[in-house]
């Protein structure tokens, strides 16, 4: 036995060692519990989040006493009333929601051809290039990228200098709504591509050949075959982009320059500038509520099964 063992690679022998060690400390009787032990960390993390949410909900119903700077001892609805009665918060809510919908649509439109090309191209070189171009932004981080856009789009930025060369006067390209949306789209496209690519890979090329031989030109084949079959990927990618944009902080803060706040910026202000924790908590609850509502609506329309989860899909 011992002489055989030497012939196996080191990796195998290490695995055997680990197995033996686990067998020594973990009785065989308990092996049925192993899967539950393995999901425990994830369950604990979610549980912590739930506890935090309960606390935030509790805070959101306590109103800050401006004279003592202490939260009220009893529950009041004043924070929520203030939010719903103030035009400022309505406009922030509307801006966040509209912005995230626009960003989602644009991301899906731009990401679809990108993923399609990445999945379908016969050239390994092009595929590698597209993948690198996709992952490179991930290494840079959101804040640094936003500052990059400040340099490029600023009044003395590269874009305005180039435009100046052809005689166009400097334009204000920053600190407005389109700049925030632009930054968000640029930030979210890789997420959308990564979510779409597996869905497009799952569509056999033969299906498109079949559509073509049955008389569909590329447009009809796209509308009647590729798009419906890519629906799970589109919904998954859309949900990820929508929730990430809705809750985004850095892009509105940096590219919006304080004039284009999303909900997360308003929450930040309440927690860390005005120190009105109750108000911040109330805004948080509303944000979580809107996000859950949107995801709930999408699931109830398309069904969770469209995300290709569940076992009876073929």
């Amino acid at each position: 036995m011992r002489t055989y063992r030497k012939a196996y690679p080191l990796g195998w022998r290490i695995m055997d060692g680990i197995e033996a060690a686990v067998a020594a400390v973990w009785p065989r009787r308990l092996s049925g519990a192993v899967p539950y032990v393995m999901v425990l960390p994830a369950v604990l993390l979610v549980l912590l989040l739930v506890i935090g949410m309960v606390q935030i909900a509790d805070q959101s119903a306590r109103v800050l006493d401006t004279s003592t700077f202490m939260p009220s001892a009893d529950y009041r609805s004043a924070n929520y009333e203030q939010i719903f009665n103030s035009g400022l918060y309505w406009s922030i809510l509307w801006r966040s929601l509209l912005g995230s919908v626009i960003v989602t649509v644009l991301c899906l439109v731009f990401a679809f051809p990108y993923s399609y090309l990445m999945v379908r191209t016969p050239s390994a070189l092009l595929r590698k290039f597209l993948l690198i171009a996709l992952f490179l932004p991930f290494f840079i981080g959101q804040v640094v990228r936003a500052y990059g856009w400040l340099i490029i789009l600023g009044n003395q930025g590269v874009v305005n200098e180039v435009l100046g060369l052809v005689g166009v006067p400097p334009m204000r390209l920053l600190y407005n709504y389109p700049a925030v949306l632009f930054g968000l789209v640029q930030y979210m496209i890789p997420f959308a591509v990564l979510m779409l690519a597996p869905a497009l890979t799952a569509i056999p090329e033969e299906i498109e050949s079949a559509a073509s031989s049955l008389g569909a030109n590329w447009w009809r084949s796209f509308v009647h075959v590729v798009l419906p079959m890519a629906k799970p990927g589109l919904i998954g990618a859309g949900l990820v982009v929508l929730t990430l944009s809705l809750t985004d902080f850095a892009m509105p803060a940096i590219l919006g320059g304080g004039s284009q706040d999303f909900i997360a910026n308003a929450i930040y202000d309440q927690f860390f500038r005005t120190s009105d924790q109750g108000m911040g908590a109330a805004l948080t609850i509303i944000l979580v509520g809107i996000g859950s509502l949107v995801v709930g609506i999408v699931f109830s329309i398309f069904g969770a099964g469209t995300l290709a989860m569940g076992r009876d899909r073929k």
Binding site: E206, S209, S213, N217, R220, M229
Partner: protein, 377 residues
């Protein structure tokens, strides 16, 4: 012979050429897939392109369908060159290897798809879809989703979808390869029935030699990108054009040796000390003495007995030791030493009627010179 003459005579009435492939060549970056392929296919005939994987048969089919453009040469469908026509403008129905049915549609929607894409009169579509579902015996399954159908039923939907718009040409890209044997044989007969019923010109691609013989009016055998032979099934089997065709169809023993004598078509050659006489089957003159040749002898053409005396009808007899005897139900397969290093595979199709041999028995084998088709080596 009379049955085969009947089968081959039936389709000979049609004379109009439906598909004409002229000097078609296809090269990929590092692979010459199809080399100078030419053939004509008459209207209403069922052609099978048979070959091992990598023989270029699928590439040839994909060029006819329009998914690939030939590097050289031209393909004519009903007399018109089609190289510049994209697939969706050709009138070709195709059944794909993995069927490529649309999973988000019902059986009826799948069949209606080509009619909608080709802008058929919308009011006639439901009736037509039903007629073609009936044709493939799926009349009651119109509203089933694809994943609710069995493998055989999915095959039938794919056939209906490829035929419903009455294309000039039906292409079958090994659609039966994934089925189990029983279902595959059932579907082969089904393809044949539907093709005869509609009279649609059909090109089938397969690596299954049995399927090629069963379904086709004509068989093209391809190897390494080159068309080796185009002939009706029985001719492909009986008179293969070369050793490759002889070996690819049927179970064939190859016996090689140096020519010792020739007389007309008869070629005698030496196989490890024993002399075998065969019939020269290749084009061109018979080989000279000393040339290296290969004889192809079908496993079912060899007769076995305990002694040579019982093989009086055979022109050539030899002795050998049974190395293996395999019971396959309807037949027994023997492997017998003919000469050192040359095993002969022999079928006994009615084991109960003959004496059975065991491993180690020394037996007599006999065959006729016309059954040893001899080719240059």
């Amino acid at each position: 012979m009379t049955i085969e003459a009947g089968i081959e005579g039936r389709a000979a009435q049609a004379t109009r050429v439906a598909v004409s492939v002229r000097n078609v060549d296809m090269s990929f970056a590092d692979f010459h897939a199809v080399k100078d392929a030419s053939f004509d296919l008459e209207d209403g005939r069922f052609l099978t392109i048979l070959g091992p994987s990598g023989s270029g048969k699928t590439t040839l089919l994909r060029m006819i369908a329009g998914f690939q453009k030939p590097s050289a040469g031209e393909i004519f469908i009903n007399g018109k060159p089609v190289s510049a026509t994209p697939p969706h403008k050709r009138s070709i129905g195709m059944v794909f290897q993995k069927l490529a049915l649309f999973p988000h549609m019902t059986a009826a929607e799948n069949v209606a798809f080509p009619l909608k894409m080709r802008r058929f009169d919308a009011t006639t579509i439901p009736e037509r879809v039903q007629r073609y579902l009936d044709l493939v015996h799926l009349g009651g399954y119109a509203d089933r989703r694809i994943h609710q159908l069995s493998g055989g039923q999915q095959q039938r939907v794919a056939i209906a979808r490829a035929l419903v718009f009455e294309p000039d040409l039906l292409l079958l890209d090994e659609p039966l390869a994934a089925l189990d044997r029983k279902l595959r044989e059932e579907m082969q007969l089904e393809f044949r029935r539907i093709q005869r019923e509609l009279g649609v010109t059909t090109i089938n691609v397969t690596h299954d030699q049995r399927e090629a013989l069963v379904v086709s009016d004509e068989v093209i055998v391809m190897d390494k990108g080159v068309i080796q032979q185009k002939a009706p099934p029985s001719a492909t089997y009986r008179t293969p054009a070369n050793a490759f065709v002889a070996g690819f169809i049927g179970v064939t023993n190859f016996i090689s040796g140096k020519v010792t004598a020739t007389s007309g078509d008869a070629v005698s050659f030496d196989v490890g000390g024993s002399e075998v006489t065969g019939t020269w089957a290749a084009q061109g003159p018979a080989p000279s003495v000393g040339a290296s040749v290969t004889g192809a002898l079908r496993a079912e053409q060899v007769r076995l007995a305990s002694s040579e005396a019982e093989l009086s009808g055979c022109q050539t007899t030899s002795r050998g030791v049974v190395r293996d005897a395999i019971f396959e139900g309807e037949r027994l397969v023997y492997e017998i030493d003919l000469a050192p290093g040359t095993l002969l595979r022999v079928f006994d199709h009615d084991p109960a009627a003959h004496k059975q041999f065991a491993i180690g028995d020394n037996v007599a084998m006999g065959w006729n010179a016309r059954d040893v088709l001899t080719f240059p080596n």
